[in-house]
């Protein structure tokens, strides 16, 4: 499997409703050891956008990124419905779609990742 197999793939929830498509994949370095040198990057979750609005440019990542005010506002408006899906919520891949174990309304907004006490 390749990373590009995940990115841009449509996502549907447990009720069969369309959530959007994968815009980015969050990786955490706590996977299996690679040749006893370092931990592998494990897929921790997916950032899902409601419609195809191009690349995220990194501006959706919350307060950590500073940028031109106007660009930030525009991108934030475009991505206000962007959701975060943890890998545990992913049921499997069914043909074209990634199918979730939960319903759409249980998914947090991506900005939740950057709140105090987030994961």
């Amino acid at each position: 499997m390749r990373m590009s197999d995940l990115i841009a793939r449509p996502v549907v929830d447990s009720a069969g409703e369309v959530v959007g498509q994968v815009a980015d994949v969050r990786l955490v370095q706590d996977g299996p050891m690679l040749r006893q040198v370092q931990h592998a990057f494990r897929v921790a979750g997916l950032i899902v956008v409601t419609r195809h609005t191009g690349r995220l440019f990194g501006y959706e990542r919350g307060p950590a990124v500073k940028g031109p005010w106007l660009v930030r506002k525009v991108l934030r408006a475009l991505h206000r419905n962007t959701r975060y899906v943890t890998w545990e919520q992913v049921g499997g891949i069914d043909g074209q779609d990634i199918v979730l174990r939960v319903t759409k309304d249980r998914l947090p907004a991506v900005s939740w990742l950057y709140r105090e006490g987030g994961p």
Binding site: R55, F57, V65, G67, P68, V71
Partner: protein, 409 residues
């Protein structure tokens, strides 16, 4: 002296970018038709290229990444490839025009038909790129291009009506016998000429070639603040010369020979010799700048080893690209296609592609992954955003205006 030589990259970039063959003639043509009433566009272009060249120089110094690296990184492989295709086509056309321009300068000096000079110029340019160290190349051609300062001397000796030039410059509207669409068409051509993307491709890649580090940030900034305003000043002097000599006589400049006439009339045979030298250095320098940029952009998109800081065999694909581009461009000039017309068109096409190049620069200049503590301040971001909006408007208007005005006729 060492400090002075440190800014030759900026001078070469600006001379090759602002006063290459297309801009030389475009500035003279605009001066002869519109007087100084488009001077504001040149000033705007200088400001714009300064803002974005400063960002790309800073990115090169802090992260050692050049502009086309960032284009793919931020636009993704597909939009990046579109930009690459467009840029590469424009670069190849421009190399052809610059080779033609340098050959035309030799024709003016010797009276021998320019087509005879084309293969020699192309071979010399390739040899310089193959064998000469980046810093030598930048010093020799940047400094020789300074001979164009003769335009300022000539303007002074022509003794123009300064009050009238000033009045034209402060009243930004077309003269009575020119239409508004034509006026804006040339405004876009001048802005596209001032902010051509290859200037930042070359400037940032040159910074990497010179192994800039964080300690060189002030050198990078000095390069920008000296080089581009100097290029702008020369552009204005060319337009003012044309406005003084040609506007009253209703001559519409359309060749390199006519373009240097005001200098000959103002400063005599010595002036003529200097201006031809300057034009040759500027167009030959631009040939190098643009041909190298074609290698830089292709290599940086695909991640190949590039640059003159390694031996040619270690950057084989980069050098092969340059060789092929030079051969194709030479063949194109030898078809006797008018080199000046080629750049006039490519300037407008380049204007249409501007946002695709400058948006990634603006975004990366704000990214702490790359920039650590050297991200944009509020000043750069405000100006950068304002220019992004302007460039988007320009890119939408460029091609319709070209068709509507039959390319400014």
């Amino acid at each position: 002296m060492k400090k002075f030589l440190g800014i030759t990259l900026g001078i070469l970039t600006a001379i090759g970018g602002f006063v290459d063959i297309g801009d030389l003639v475009a500035n003279a043509l605009v001066g002869s038709r519109f007087g100084m009433s488009l001077a504001w566009v040149v000033l705007l272009g200088v400001l714009g290229i300064c803002v974005f060249a400063e960002m790309s120089g800073r990115i090169a110094a802090v992260s050692r990444r050049a502009v086309f690296d960032l284009v793919r990184e931020r636009l993704g492989p597909r939009a990046g490839l579109v930009n690459l295709g467009a840029s590469f086509l424009i670069l190849a056309l421009t190399v052809a025009a610059e080779i033609g321009g340098a050959a035309l300068a030799l024709e003016l000096a010797t009276g021998v038909d320019y087509l005879v000079w084309v293969p020699a110029v192309a071979f010399a340019a390739w040899l310089v790129m193959w064998r000469v160290k980046f810093e030598t190349l930048e010093r020799v051609f940047g400094l020789a291009g300074l001979a164009l300062v003769i335009f300022i001397v000539a303007l002074w000796q022509l003794g123009p009506d300064w009050g009238q030039l000033w009045e034209q410059a402060t009243r930004p509207a077309p003269p009575r016998d020119e239409g508004l669409p034509t006026y804006f068409y040339y405004a876009i051509a001048l802005l596209g000429g001032a902010m051509t993307p290859y200037e930042v491709f070359f400037f940032s890649s040159g910074g990497v070639e010179e192994k800039w580090t964080r300690r060189d940030l002030s050198v990078a900034r000095a390069n920008v603040l000296v080089g581009f305003p100097l290029g702008g000043l020369l552009s204005l002097a060319i337009a003012a010369c044309a406005a003084t000599v040609f506007l009253p006589a209703h001559v519409q400049v359309d060749s390199l020979g006519q373009m240097v006439l005001p200098v000959a009339l103002g400063a005599g045979q010595v002036g003529l010799a200097l201006v031809i030298l300057g034009v040759f250095a500027a167009t030959f320098g631009a040939t190098l700048e643009v041909a190298l940029s074609s290698g830089y952009s292709l290599s940086q998109y695909f991640g190949w080893q590039w640059g003159k800081f390694v031996r040619p065999r270690e950057a084989a694909r980069f050098h092969a690209t340059i060789l092929v581009v030079v051969i194709v461009a030479t063949a194109l000039v030898l078809t006797t296609i008018d080199p000046i017309m080629v750049t006039e068109y490519s300037l407008v096409f380049a204007a249409a592609a501007l946002p695709l190049t400058y948006l990634p620069v603006l975004l990366i200049a704000n990214d702490r992954d790359y920039m650590q503590d050297k991200v944009n301040g509020r000043f750069s971001n405000t100006l950068g955003t304002a220019f992004m909006i302007l460039l988007i408007v320009v890119s939408i208007a460029a091609i319709p205006l070209m068709l509507a005005t039959k390319a400014g006729q």
